[in-house]
Structures are given as structure tokens and as C-alpha cells.
Amino acid sequence: MKLTLRIWRQAGPADSGRMVAYEVPDANPDMSFLELLDVLNERLTLEGDDPVTFDHDCREGICGACGVVINGQAHGPRERTTTCQLHMREFSDGDVIDVEPWRSVAFGVVKDLMVDRSGLDRIIRAGGYVSVNTGSAPEAHATPVPKPIADTAFDNATCIGCGACVAACPNGSAMLFTSAKVTHLNSLPQGAPERSERVLNLVEAMDAEGFGGCTNTGECTNACPKGIPLDSIATLNREYLRASLGRK
């Protein structure tokens, strides 16, 4: 396949950045999107050009490191797929493909397609955990957890922290990400004692990081590679309300 990639190039946070076009004459339909970038980078290196910087690690759709906007869609056209798991057979010979970094007030560009997502970590640090020191845990079977509750917790715990939801949201909101953590921990009996503090602290941290508000556009869940549902946002809102009333 012959493709034209128009890639966002930005030397650093201070640079204003621009789209640059590159021809890739020898793309293969079985390549992943990141392998396409690898092939381009090998060539740029030999030509004395600066290779394109992008985050990646597992290349299996689980670490959450990768993620670019492809033709305006976070993680590209295929549903429930991270950029590393997107293959070139989703595209056609002759296509022109725009490749841009996550864009959001809370995510600054570090270089080219690499952004700073540390705000998501700071949300978790504000209370996305159960306060149990090593060694102090009771026997695992002391508290049975009904299967449907365990399944809901699991579904929400599959969030990979990639930030596609933020990138896809017109407001740059991190509601889907935050609600996944609140739903994961607040549904479980182990998370119950800190339930109120957790939701209040997470939402406060989310606002402090400069993420936007949620207006229910649903773009986040469409972009989410793990299919975190909008229901989780409803759960967060319910938990928040409950906690705010309780606190007064």
C-alpha cells in the first residue's frame, strides 16, 4: 500500500508545531499503525531527519502508553482498539492519514505525538485506592463479593489510563476515567469505608488538574478502547451527590 501520512511535528512545549507530510510507499496491510511509524522512522533516521516521537510500550493494547488522533478520531477508526492494535488493513491504498497528538488543556505536548498525561496519575493519588497496608489484610474469603458486583468492578478496572476519553471530549473532561475508578472501588465491599471521601477527592483533583466539565456528549465512551460505559459517569454522579449530602 502507498500512503501519505500528515504528522504533527513539534520540537517541544515551546514550539508552535505544524503538520508535515510524508510518503510511505511500502506499507503492508498486516502492519500495526505503530509499525508503520517505525518504518517511517527508520527511513527518517537514515535520511538524517528527526524521527517522530511517540509513546508506546506493550504494543498489546493494555499498558495505555500509546495513543494518537488518527483522522480526527482518538485511537483511529476501529472500535474498541488502541493505536498499537490498529492494523493498516483498516486503510486503503492511496489514503492520506492525519496523525496528531491528544489535544486537551490538561495534556501538554512534550514532543511530536507525545503528551503529558500525569494529571491522570494525580487524580488516582487523591484517593483512587483502598487504604490497606501490606500485611494487614484479612483472609481473602472472609468477605464474599456477589458475582455481578465483582463483574462491574472488573469492567471498570479495565481502564488503561490512556487518556483517549479526554482527547475525544470537546470539553477535555476526564469524567469517564475518573468514574471508572470510582465505580471500580466504590462498588466493592473493600472500598466501602472510604467511599465518600474517595469520590469527593477524586472529583476535586480532576477539577484542579484543569480537565473540563462533562456535558454528556458521549464522545469519551465511543473512543474508549476498553468500552467503559457512560453508566459509570452516572454512578460517579450518584456517588458524588450521596457523599456531598452526607458531608453537610
Binding site: N28, L46, A140
Partner: protein, 645 residues
């Protein structure tokens, strides 16, 4: 020509000489304690935030130590542990199916083909039950039954169901648990977390580990971090093969630099090759993807009987197929251990019966399972794996048999540690896949997650406390000549890489290294092949330092420079792996020497000559390494040849 020198034997002097089930209690009782009020004054560096490092960081911080922690990713949650699929073992015996601490210990020693230290393995089995308790309390959503109790399954050739799991994402869920515990300590100010920061070297002062040199991967700034002890939790080195199931950036630099500073490297040639991975599709292939081994419970493995048969699988009638595992190993069939299944696939492909591009693949067929159980049932069990396969290959495994091929997956070798998990450099502790400790020559499925968390949550903390309580720490400053020298060396190395400006990319060297390692130090190793590799590797290393091209500068994000630095270490490590493989003239676990096999082609151990762990001392770049043998005693599990026929 020999490639090494023989040094003195080495021994673990820390495991107490009492019956095996009392050793860990006794060791903890004998260990010195640090007064809680004094812990704040002691700082500990932890490199790595995977299961081992994440668990260690959270626990030491909870105990009151000041922790300074590092990872190269942009978030500690992305460590390679996140990718583990299958599950984690623990001797809970919830099923009442005859499991016990002793059985887990026994299975692990035997599965490791009698090349692991009994004391360590026993402790691992003992600790396993506490891990599950801890993780459940953190909110790790393990699979549950309708009763609300935890579900388990059997995994990797054992006869009890002791594997706890969270769908196909067990590593992710366990790591998120550790990451959350670590996040809590970061928020409390007890852990100083440095993301996107890569350790370049270990600082050793007066014979003890006192800090690291690290590079900020965003600004390029090279800094020193000083502490009372250093813990390496940097994972495995499977990427020496270029193509492996490891994360793309997994590397050996931290342990290799520690090795160069005096830490012995044990059993580097013990690598695990996983039988069920998706075959490579072309030259551009950047990594390989594992398909969980649970697929072998219902899938049947076969190749066409005729070499070079290019018919599509549905055109090959039943009688022209060879279900070779079922034929050769009627007892275990498709469920033989990983090393055996991998080698059998290679043998079939060597006979020209492989399928798919380049003939490097065998079929894993679910047609029978679908007939027997119905498509819905198969979907319920393996749906996410089938979808992943479809996504990567564009083929639908409900209709067409999967194609699989073995790939490098795990490294049992690593830095040598004693029972306290301390390397031969005092104050430098090594946990998780980075050490060599518990799996001998072959790791059982679902045991790496167990070991990483056992090390991090339960074993390291009291032993590190003992080290701190028994040592006096003179103040070390950045002006100390040993510190200055280490910084200069690390900086000089990067400057050199940037200045070569040759004509070959880093990846082209890495690929070539990977091919040599895969061909000569992969699934089957021969004296001739290893000698050939040992002739070629030093040339490749020299060529690298003469003609690698690393664009850009050191004072910005420079992913080519990061890779070049890692590959320079892989080139040296690859050589040591081949020396180790050449010297070990026996077959054991993941190490198969073609000269040492039974008449029917099975691995043959040589316990007379090789019942030891081989711990290598660095002899200088391009100089011969020095072998120190740690004799292994089997007082509890008696030496016996494995037999899966």
C-alpha cells in the same frame, strides 16, 4: 578455545540451617529491626514500578522509609507486568483438591528442572497465600463464582486448580492494585516518584550500593540520586532477542550496569520460549503477541503430514494431518510443559511441515472443541483471545485454525541474589524477574506474578530493614570521587553514542543481534552454533560502536538514544548468554543442548556435573567472565528426570 575463567564457588549464607518449613520464620526472627522512629531518616532507591517494584515501594513507604522510585514510562502503572494474562498461583487449597504449600513447592522445584534453590522456592510457596489476601483487600477484582467466592483454574501442566485470575488480564489487575497502593504513598509524601527517568548506572561507594545515575528522558538532564540502599526491580531481558512478548522498551540496562559494577549474573542462558504466540507476519515485525496458554486446554495442535503442503487447512483431510503432540506424548497431549511444546513445534517446522508465511507456524485448531461444546461455549471461554487474534491477523479463528509459533517470553536468569534477595554488591537488592532466584531452568505458568509480589510485599521489606539496621552509613555527597566517576562514565557513553553518526540504525543492529541469539541461543543450542555466535557477537559489538547512527542531541526527548543505550548493553549480555549456554553441556528446562538428549529426543540433565547455579562475574568488556558455581542441594525434592510421555 574456552571463553571463561573458573572462580571460587559461591554459596547462599543467609538461609538458616533448620528444617525447610521453619527457615523463613527463623530468618525473620534473626533479622535486625529498624526502630520505626528512625526509618524516616533512611532512604531507599527503587528502580522499577512493576509488580515487584510497585509492591516494594508501597510497602517500604508504609513502614516509614523514605522511598525514591523510578520508571522509564510516563506512569508507574504502565510497567510490563500489566501485560500478564493468565493468572497467579497460590496454595490456598480452596478447592480441597489436595494442594498445599508443600505441593506448590514441589511442583515449582520439579518444573524448574531441579535448578532452583529449595529454600527460596519453599518460602515463595509459603508467602503465596498472603498475596491473594492482600490483593483482594486492595480491591483487585479476581474472578468469582456465583457464591461470591474466588474462582481458580488449573494452569500450565499442574493437576490442582491453584491459579487465581481476573479474566485474561490478571497482570493488569494486580499491577493496578500495587500502583494504587504506591499512589497512596506518593500522595502522602513518602515516595518521591520519578517517571520518564531511566537509570544509567549504579553508584558503588566503599563496596556498597549507594545510589544511581539517571537521565530525565524529557529534558535529557543526567542526575545522581543517593540513598542507603538500592533495589533493582527492572524486569527481564527477553528483548535481547529483539522479537519477544516483552514490552518494546523492556531492557537489561539496569541489571547489566550493576553487573559491570560487581553484581554476579546467574544463569543468563535460561530463557523461556512460550509455545503459543502469534507468528511474525513480515520484516517490519516489532514484537510478538502471546496467546494465553489456556487455549491448549481445548485447541488441538497439528501440521500437515506432507512437507511443503500449501493447501489451505480445510483442504487437508484428517488422515493427512499430524497431531504431533498427541502422537508423541499420549499422556499429556496438547498440555505438555512449555519448553516441550515449543521444541516440538520447531522440530515440525524444521522438517518443512510448518504453515503460514515462511513455514514458521503450526495450527491450533478449535474445530473439535466447537463441535463438542458449541460455538457459544467456546466464545464464553476464549472470546477475548479469539478477538485479539482476529484483530492482529485479520483471520477468524472460529472458522480457520489459528497459526501459532513459539516466542521468547521470560528470562529465568538474572542477577544472583542470596536468600535475603541481596546481590553480591552489599546494599544492592534485586527483586522480580530481574533476579535469578526461584524458577530454576524453567518457570511454571502463573508463577512470575506470584514471585514479583512475594518479593515486593513480603520478602524484601524485612531483609532490607535488616541490612539498614546492621550497617553504618557515612554521608556520601555528589562530590565523592566514585560518584563523579560514575556520572562521567554514564555521560561519556551517551556522548559517544551521539557522536558516531554512522550509517546503520539502532534497530538494524538490534535485529541482527536478535537473529543470532534466536538461531544459536534459542530453542535448541549446539556447541558449533554457540561458538559461531561467540565469534560474531564481538564483531557486531565493535561494528555498533563504529557505525551506529543516533540522530538528535542528548538534551531533549531522544528515543533513538534511549534505544541505542539499551542495545549497547544487550550486545554485551548476549555474549554472556552464549558463554553460559556453551559451558552448560547439559539440557535442562528452557536450555536445550542438542548434544545432551535421550535417544527419543528428550532433554537430558547431567546432575553429576551441572547441579549448580552458574553465577558470572564481569571480567571487563571483551574480557573473559569468571564463573562461580553455587552448588544446589535437593534435600526435599529428590532429583529425577522429568517425564511427560
Amino acid at each position: 578455545m574456552t571463553f571463561f575463567k573458573l572462580g571460587d564457588d559461591i554459596a547462599d549464607t543467609r538461609a538458616p540451617d533448620v528444617p525447610i518449613e521453619q527457615r523463613w520464620d527463623k530468618r525473620r526472627f534473626d533479622a535486625k529491626l529498624v526502630n520505626p522512629a528512625n526509618r524516616r531518616r533512611h532512604s531507599v532507591i527503587i528502580v522499577g514500578t512493576g509488580l515487584a517494584g510497585g509492591a516494594a515501594g508501597a510497602t517500604l513507604a508504609e513502614q516509614g522509609y523514605h522511598v525514591i522510585q523510578f520508571c522509564y514510562q510516563d506512569s508507574p502503572r504502565r510497567a510490563h507486568s500489566i501485560a500478564a494474562q493468565g493468572g497467579i498461583n497460590a496454595a490456598k487449597n480452596y478447592r480441597n483438591d489436595g494442594d498445599s504449600v508443600y505441593r506448590l513447592f514441589y511442583d515449582t522445584v520439579k518444573g524448574g528442572d531441579f535448578r532452583a534453590r529449595e529454600s527460596n522456592v519453599y518460602r515463595l510457596a509459603q508467602t503465596s497465600t498472603q498475596i491473594i489476601d492482600q490483593c483482594v483487600a486492595q480491591g483487585v477484582p479476581f474472578a468469582r463464582e456465583y457464591s461470591g467466592l474466588l474462582d481458580t483454574r488449573s494452569f500450565g501442566g499442574v493437576q490442582v486448580a491453584r491459579t487465581f485470575y481476573a479474566r485474561g488480564q490478571t497482570g493488569q489487575q494486580l499491577l493496578i492494585g500495587a500502583y494504587q497502593a504506591l499512589s497512596r504513598q506518593i500522595d502522602a509524601g513518602n515516595v518521591e516518584m520519578h517517571e520518564r527517568t531511566e537509570m544509567l548506572d549504579l553508584i558503588v561507594v566503599d563496596g556498597r550500593a549507594r545510589g544511581i545515575v539517571a537521565r530525565d528522558l524529557v529534558t535529557g538532564q543526567i542526575s545522581t540520586y543517593l540513598a542507603d540502599a538500592v533495589v533493582l526491580a527492572t524486569g527481564g531481558y527477553g528483548n535481547v532477542f529483539y522479537l519477544s512478548t516483552n514490552a518494546k522498551n523492556s531492557n537489561a540496562s539496569a541489571i547489566w550496569r550493576a553487573h559491570r559494577r560487581g553484581a554476579y549474573f546467574a544463569n543468563p542462558c535460561y530463557t523461556q520460549i512460550h509455545p503459543t504466540c502469534i507468528p511474525r507476519s513480515g520484516e517490519y515485525q516489532s514484537k510478538l503477541t502471546l496467546m494465553s496458554e489456556s487455549l491448549r486446554n481445548d485447541g488441538r495442535i497439528w501440521v500437515p503430514k506432507k512437507a511443503g503442503d500449501t493447501r489451505s487447512p480445510d483442504q487437508i483431510p484428517e488422515e493427512e494431518r499430524d497431531y504431533y503432540l498427541e502422537r508423541i506424548y499420549p499422556g499429556f497431549g496438547n498440555l505438555v510443559p512449555r519448553d516441550i511444546a515449543s521444541r516440538a513445534a520447531k522440530n515440525q517446522c524444521d522438517l518443512g511441515r510448518g504453515v503460514g508465511p515462511g513455514g514458521l507456524g503450526v495450527y491450533l485448531d478449535f474445530a473439535d472443541a466447537i463441535r463438542r461444546l458449541g460455538e457459544d461455549k467456546v466464545r464464553e471461554k476464549y472470546g477475548n483471545l479469539f478477538e485479539m487474534y482476529d484483530r492482529i491477523t485479520g483471520e477468524d479463528p472460529y472458522k480457520v485454525p489459528m497459526r501459532i509459533y513459539p516466542a521468547v517470553h521470560y528470562t529465568m536468569g538474572g542477577l544472583w541474589v542470596d536468600y535475603d534477595l541481596q546481590s553480591t554488591i552489599p546494599g544492592c537488592f534485586v527483586v522480580g524477574e530481574a533476579n535469578f532466584s526461584d524458577h530454576g531452568a524453567n518457570r511454571l505458568g502463573a508463577s512470575a506474578l506470584m514471585q514479583g509480589l512475594a518479593d515486593g510485599y513480603f520478602v524484601l521489606p524485612p531483609m532490607l530493614g535488616n541490612y539498614i539496621a546492621s550497617s553504618k552509613f557515612d554521608k556520601v555527597t555528589e562530590a565523592h570521587p566514585d560518584v563523579v566517576e560514575t556520572v562521567n562514565e554514564a555521560t561519556g557513553r551517551l556522548t559517544k553514542l551521539l557522536s558516531i553518526n554512522g550509517e546503520r540504525t539502532v534497530d538494524s543492529f538490534h535485529r541482527e543481534l536478535g537473529e543470532i541469539m534466536w538461531d544459536e541461543c534459542g530453542m535448541a543450542r549446539s556447541e558449533d552454533g554457540l561458538r559461531k555466535a561467540l565469534g560474531r557477537l564481538p564483531e557486531l559489538r565493535e561494528e555498533f560502536w563504529r557505525s551506529v547512527k543516533v540522530p538528535g542531541t542528548g538534551s531533549q526527548v531522544n528515543q533513538s538514544l534511549e534505544r541505542a543505550n539499551r542495545v549497547s548493553d544487550f550486545l554485551e549480555l548476549g555474549e554472556l548468554m552464549c558463554v553460559d549456554a556453551l559451558h552448560r553441556e547439559e539440557s535442562c528446562g528452557g536450555h536445550f543442548r542438542v548434544e545432551s538428549q535421550t535417544p527419543d529426543g528428550e532433554a537430558r540433565r547431567d546432575d553429576e556435573r551441572f547441579a549448580y547455579a552458574g553465577a558470572w562475574e564481569f571480567g571487563g568488556t571483551g574480557e573473559q567472565p569468571i564463573l562461580h558455581k553455587e552448588p544446589l542441594n535437593f534435600d526435599y525434592v529428590h532429583l529425577a528426570q522429568r517425564n511427560y510421555a
